[in-house]
């Protein structure tokens, strides 16, 4: 790694008022052809390019991004990371990712501010309680640090929570101490920087319009900067993946919906863990700047407006204020929406398809950020070897024909 960030480099650059830091990555014009093209410059796409270059020794790679790096869902999530999923397949997938998160700052020599402050999933009724206890047991069998915590323990962890005096009282929760949050921009930037160092071309402001195929093989992509040839194309374009797939004649089982989040004015530390509740649909954490980061739900209809409906925010805020009356007078600073691609079984797709050389990494729905390094690592493996890794093999496209679905509607935090 060439560009090291260290105490001395900060000191040195402070002498020139931090005006002479080098650009983190080049902005090359696209070449005529590449060995591999990754469509989508978010965390998943950039990470894929990074692992392709680093672990598989492939150099002639381009990442093509419509807007700017990390400007899609990578920069629009609530940065929650956890791996407490119910089924073995998903537990392995998300745990693989969590293990990579734990070492990512060191590996990339870039502080992604991964903070393992724990993630709590609340139970509000007897059914929730049974489901969550079942999930905790399943997690334990898969070696994931998940515990059942009762009301008193919750009170100790989050003293500001109103557990009794509300319509759906808090009965307990699952807690994963290794879960947490990370700085999402830094994830995209650091993967981009390290991939760029290894020769990956990162092309921004270049929209892929069409995936060109012939005789069941990929030939390249038609972009706003002309045709780029490649016989291997990996698509990691989240909400727009199904539209690109259609240009190659493939129909994916995805539906795109806006998912919203909002951020409050910054306050002193009041909540030092991540608290999620599926039943009343409210989840909240506090960023290092002191803002409350609040996740809302998806709209009930397909849409590509990165905005979302107001009623969704209203529902979430109502639940937040009931759970934390102390937040009642806070002001919200920003609100935004990202377009998420949701699979019928709420599990992702990391898979080959009928067209040779075309790969998809999509369907992450409302929970793609936590999987960023794991998904990128496995997608890189799938593209390099032209066969899935044992961890992502269950997440193939064929499962919708065979019926071997990985139904994670319970563990996915946002109700679909």
């Amino acid at each position: 790694m060439k560009k090291k960030y260290s105490f001395f480099s900060v000191l040195k650059n402070s002498l020139s008022y931090h005006e002479n830091w080098k650009k983190m990555w080049r902005s090359p014009e696209p070449r005529k052809s590449y060995d591999i093209i990754i469509v989508g410059g978010g965390g998943h796409g950039l990470g894929t390019a990074y692992y392709l270059a680093k672990e598989h020794g492939l150099k002639n790679i381009a990442v093509i991004e419509k807007g700017w790096l990390g400007g899609g869902n990578t920069g629009r999530n609530t940065t929650i990371i956890r791996s407490n999923y119910l089924w073995d397949e998903s537990a392995h997938l998300y745990e693989h990712s969590l293990k990579l998160w734990e070492n990512l700052s060191t590996e990339l020599n870039y502080n992604i501010m991964f903070s393992q402050r724990g993630v709590m999933n609340l139970a509000h009724n007897e059914h929730d309680k049974k489901e969550i206890k079942r999930r905790v047991s399943a997690n334990k069998l898969n070696g994931i640090d998940s515990y059942w915590v009762d009301k008193n323990q919750i009170k100790k962890l989050v003293p500001i929570m109103n557990t009794d005096n509300l319509r759906y009282p808090v009965l307990g929760a699952s807690f994963q101490p290794r879960g947490g949050v990370a700085r999402h921009d830094a994830v995209a930037w650091s993967f981009a920087m390290r991939a760029d160092e290894m020769g990956v071309d990162i092309i921004q402001n270049c929209e892929v319009k069409n995936i060109k195929t012939s005789k069941g093989k990929v030939e390249g992509v038609e972009t706003s900067k002309g045709f780029i040839r490649s016989n291997r194309v990996g698509v990691a374009a989240s909400g727009h993946t199904s539209i690109l797939a259609e240009t190659a004649g493939i129909r994916l089982p995805l539906q795109s919906k806006p998912l919203q989040a909002l951020v409050s004015e910054p306050i002193k530390p009041v909540i030092n863990t991540v608290v999620m509740s599926n039943a009343v649909h409210a989840y909240v954490s506090q960023s290092d700047k002191g803002e409350l980061v609040i996740g809302a739900g998806t709209d009930g209809y397909n849409s590509f407006t990165q905005r979302g409906g107001y009623n969704i925010i209203e529902d979430t805020i109502r639940a937040i204020i009931e759970l934390y009356p102390v937040f009642g007078k806070m002001k919200m600073l920003r609100q935004w929406g990202g377009i998420v691609d949701i699979c019928p079984d709420a599990s992702p797709i990391i898979s080959k398809c009928d067209v040779k050389g075309l790969y998809f990494n999509c369907g992450w729905g409302t929970g793609g950020f936590k999987a960023t390094p794991g998904s990128a690592h496995l997608f890189a493996y799938t593209i390099a070897k032209d066969e899935p890794h044992v961890i992502n093999a269950p997440f193939n496209l064929n499962r919708f024909i065979s019926g071997r679905l990985v139904d994670e509607h319970g563990a996915a935090a946002v109700a679909h």
């Binding site: 700017w68 994916l252 089982p253």
Partner: protein, 117 residues
């Protein structure tokens, strides 16, 4: 949030309605003769266009009747509402079909329902 013109009750707030996904999806007539792949298409795969989308809505907290709508998913503009059983309008009826795939400003998000082009 949308204002939806229920063909039976008139214009109401979207929170009274539930969305039923893509409209005009026909169940295979002879399920026993259909291959797994075709069955999977019917069960799991739905259109997901950025642009003109034919969809179903039900007035859950109103007359409880189903109806169809044509909506532009890139702006959320409802272009036409029609009752079940009526012929769906053809794509030619709508001029402002966005250019696919994105049809949005070169940089940034596609929120041009606000600043209509």
């Amino acid at each position: 949030m949308l204002l939806i013109n229920c063909p039976y009750c008139g214009e109401r707030d979207q929170s009274e309605f539930s969305n039923g996904g893509e409209a005009h999806v026909a169940r295979p007539k002879n399920p026993e003769l259909v291959s797994d792949r075709e069955w999977s298409e019917y069960v799991f795969i739905r259109a997901n266009p950025k642009g003109i989308f034919y969809e179903r809505w039900v007035h859950t907290h109103g007359c409880k009747k189903w109806f169809n709508a044509v909506r532009n998913t890139s702006t959320d503009e409802i272009l036409k509402i029609y009752k079940l059983g009526e012929e769906p309008p053809t794509l030619k009826d709508f001029k402002n079909t966005p250019k696919t795939p994105s049809g949005e400003p070169k940089v940034g998000s596609g929120n041009f329902a606000v600043k209509k082009l």
